[in-house]
Symmetry: C3
Subunit: 355 residues, 3 copies
């Protein structure tokens, strides 16, 4: 993993508190072997951890570092406990343990409490208790902001849009009117929710705008990455189901449905009215054409183009693999003659069968 | 199409008015058969429409729903009128009818009238009549905002940039200096117009910035999607011609020209100095290399890479089609030997000819 | 190159000053042949330049325009000097000369001096001398803004983030907490620096957030394009090394390293923990999978997918070339049988060898 010696200490923000290993074990559901009162100040990799830091072993390839890690404690599977030279937090899924521990060490108070005086909030909007609203936020009439939401600086929330409780909207997010967002949704900077779906009717060599009258529904526990765009539906809503996770710079067209717990990597685009099932994993840079249905549990590798329904769970791919440009140029030229080549092979087969 | 039962009623915004079918027929240019005084409150699909809603039949595959739709009226081609159980609005291009009707049902007043007091507008800028300017908008010196424009919250409009009348700029759009925009242009949130073209001169193992001294010209009736970026020209202007429609997350490099009425789907990138003709349809995720010319009426399917001029109208493609990963891995490995395979076939053919 | 006759004169902004050719020659390191006191008012191509404008010849294909250019002076290689009808500025790398000259003609004062009264700056932030801060900028506690930085309208700079001197941050950029930026870094509108890396641990059919505890380090002389996103690291920092240039809409995942002086064209995505070497040139729309290492001096052509390490400098590609859709459909169908085709050829070869 990349790291920089030059990262200045003063750029770090404070974490919540120092936690004892006993507290950590309880929080992450691990069995502790070692000093219950030992306190850790952060998380680091096995190779980089210092004596006051927690580490973890999720990928067995790194087990070789267990013997000489400087970490103060390590989350790991019980079978690796004996190989570890320090305190251990044992659990069957140590990667989950790392995730749960990371949530304890994230900086708190990044968004100051209260409503900044520069925020422009309609008198007709409803703001729940304990909501934090940053500078220059604009919240329009009939909007609803649930309890304990945090809205970063410069966000726009349009008329009648609704956020459930505990949402975290980072700075400079644009949420149009008529968007419905569930609870515990995190949306990163630059994301745009509810922009017009791309709909135009051709007539006499020009395009007539189809106003997009639907909205967007985002269910609970969704995360949406930076600069991702989710268009509003033409008539019905575009839908992101519960627990789906969308990375950065993803494009979701109008009336798409993303099924619950599906994860989509960055730079993927899904065209209008397509439906991606539940528990899918869509790689980065994937393109999904319009009006398609992908069933549940579909995995798609990076930069695949999908132009037909996928009805069976499994792993799917398209494209070709990287190679030196010199050989690629030759192979690409041959690809354009591939149908012809196949016909020539068929002809050879016939000749051989006749002879 | 995806829709959610959970979409809360309170998130809907009001539409302009209830329209009689007689009014609708006049507006969209249809012939009415039925109750001229019947009023419709919105638009929905044939399957979902309620008794007070308008629907339409554009794709004949859905004609089966005509007999039992609950819609109060249906826009359709005359040949389907007899199959429809309710009021009909007949016209040769019902999809156009739907588009024109949708424009009547879009919410009005989303952007409040007037200039919000938090807007920061240079005393040297010119603001036309009936312009709406949202909170925290910044308009710099010598900018010109035409009559009846709407500028959403948080937009930035740089020095000397010019918007024609009736433009609709959604929140958090960034328009640099020296950008010229025509009339009736709509630009969605997060779009960036006039950022630096990507130009650097190499010398002695480092890159020297080429300042981008051109601008951007966007002609009338263009639409630009959310988070799309259009770079300013190096010396001359980048140009988006009249009536072109650009979806979300499109990248237009410096000195590109997009011809009039060309539509480009999301996530497509056009490299520097390339020219796309008029009335083209460019699919999503397409890449167009630099210094190329595509003639008029070119259609490009999704995720195609274009590396040479296209001189003939038609449909163009590249890439491979999705398949199960297991077979794909084998085929991809063979692709890297494709030139060799073709040579082997040639050799076989020679052998057969000799024998 | 695209240009528009319609670009209104009033949208142009003023340049710094008129420069004499003698001044220009000194600045760009060229040898002047001609009128040392002649003053030029701007830069244009050989074909478009007017009598008071400077031009340049970098690509020999345009040498034919030297004889009849109307330019007042031309930067060129000495070997072309005699073919030029006007004043010449001779140097071995005229493209560098153009770059250096362009820096003299860029508009000045686009960002007004001083700190705008609407900016919201924490009392705990440190603002260096001669810093320009636009309207509605938000700078949080413990942030550090170096001398002579310019921060455009609507930017957000999170807690503890640090900008070295002479940075130019265009409007509506979002910089999260804990980001460290070097000197002379330019970041274009809509870019997001420090958003969460995409990390979730699966457990019992749902995803648990891995909070991203690292930051982002951007070294000196980096440029970052519009709407580009750079995620913060999971534990260590994501790193963009000195002099790297990133175009628009690039996605840099957590813990990626981009080596010094590497240039990356628009719409490219680099997945987590991958490392791109120094002096690489990565084309547009490229996808680089996670945990890979590309050595120094690697060139990757547009829309290539990289799924394994690249250990040797050189040019690399993947994909297929554009062709008419009709033939493409046939070839694509054959691609899915390519492994089978290769086996059939092998069988034919065996038959021929036996016969």
């Amino acid at each position: 993993m990349a790291e920089s010696e030059a990262a200045p200490e003063e750029s770090k923000v404070e974490v919540k508190q120092l936690l004892t290993l006993a507290q950590l074990a309880t929080h992450i559901g691990a069995e502790l072997r070692g000093d219950a009162d030992f306190r850790v100040a952060g998380i680091a990799t096995l190779e980089n951890a210092k004596a006051d830091q927690l580490s973890f072993l999720a990928n067995p390839n790194y087990a070789k570092h267990l013997a000489d890690t400087a970490a103060g404690a390590v989350i790991l599977h019980p079978k690796f406990a004996d190989a570890c030279s320090t305190n251990v937090l044992m659990m069957p899924n140590p990667y989950l343990g790392y995730a749960l521990a990371s949530q304890l060490f994230t900086p708190v108070g990044l968004q100051p409490s209260g409503i900044h005086p520069t925020a422009v909030i309609s008198a007709d909007a409803t703001i729940g208790p304990e909501v934090k609203i940053g500078p220059n936020v604009v919240i329009e009439a009939s909007a609803f902001i649930g309890a304990n939401c945090s809205i970063g600086a410069g966000c726009f929330i349009g008329r009648g849009s609704k956020l459930g409780s505990d949402c975290n909207i980072l700075p400079n997010v644009s949420i149009y009117h008529g968007v419905s967002i569930g609870e515990r949704v995190r949306i990163h900077s630059g994301a745009v929710i509810g922009s017009d779906g791309f709909g135009f009717a051709p007539d006499q060599d020009r395009w007539h705008k189809i106003e997009q009258l639907g909205g967007v529904t985002i269910e609970d526990d969704v995360e949406i990455g930076a600069n991702t765009t989710i268009d509003r539906g033409a008539l019905d809503d575009t839908l992101i189901e519960q627990g789906a996770k969308l990375d950065n710079q993803i494009q979701i067209a109008h009336n798409v449905r993303v099924g619950s717990n599906t994860v989509i990597a960055a730079c993927t685009g899904i065209s209008g009215s397509s439906s991606v099932g539940k528990n899918c994993m869509i790689g980065g840079g994937v393109g999904i054409a319009g009006h398609l249905t992908l069933t549940d549990n579909v995995h798609v590798t990076g930069m695949t183009l999908i132009t037909h329904d996928i009805k069976e769970p499994g792993v799917y791919s398209s494209g070709t693999a990287v190679e030196p440009n010199k050989s690629w140029r030759k192979n690409v030229a041959r690809f354009r003659q591939l149908d012809q080549l196949a016909r020539r092979v068929r002809k050879l087969e016939k000749q051989n069968n006749q002879s």
